[in-house]
Subunit: 143 residues, 2 copies
């Protein structure tokens, strides 16, 4: 049966995240599932390869705090309580899988952009989440 | 909103198809969506590379007819009317996308086995369906 118990909404907090959130919220209402949200912050040295000879800690802290505030504001209209809001740092698919397992999630909702740009080479986040997920995955088409 | 209008259930008619079908049926009931089903038959010469010097038409016809009967029997308990049952021959992801577009589908439901065996090299059907789909895709975890 599709009576999901716990839905995990994974968002990158771009402008497309609202369209994805609305589907997750509607599904959680239709199935009576609890709704949690996760935003994964990618470490700044992933983006810059770690070969810059400077301490990025302060910048990383600022980015983390910014993301934290943004997630709180994002989750508010959807009435997702703070204990169901997760901010984690790492590789998106790994962290999404980890939170999903920790929280006994049975459906992950993630945005899907289709094949374009870098995802042609690297695979999209939706793709990464699909591989290795221990539960169902709903890829919501955006963009 | 997640009020899907038309759900397309893609099945390979293996024993895992029932678990996937039950989720699709429950979702269609919860969202009030119409439910269609598609089964893609892979041409026998895809499997054998076309380098066997014999006419496989009769065997292909037999396989097709067998699949047709199997789909009718499969769809029956889910009350999917015959005009919403699609049997097509080709590459699964291509045919699933084609039927989804033709039939104005807004959610494709497909089984996902995760990374194992050949799908490590070739990518799974769920993966193929996710790439290039013009609508949402729900990958139901099986096996």
């Amino acid at each position: 049966m599709a009576h999901y118990q716990h839905i995990l909404l994974a968002v990158d907090l771009t402008e497309e995240s609202n369209a994805i959130a609305e589907k997750a919220v509607a599904l959680s209402q239709q199935t009576g599932a609890k709704l949690s949200i996760v935003h994964v912050i990618e470490p700044i040295n992933f983006a810059y390869g770690g070969d810059i000879p400077m301490d990025l800690t302060a910048i990383q802290d600022q980015l983390d705090e910014h993301a934290r505030q943004k997630l709180i504001a994002f989750a508010q209209p959807y009435l997702i309580p703070s204990e169901q809001q997760h901010i984690v740092i790492g590789l998106p698919q790994n962290e999404i899988h980890r939170i999903a397992e920790e929280q006994d999630v049975d459906l992950i909702v993630v945005g899907s952009h289709g094949r374009r740009g870098l995802s042609l080479l690297l695979g999209s986040t939706a793709n990464g989440v699909l591989h290795g997920a221990k539960c169902d995955v709903l890829a919501v088409r955006v963009g």
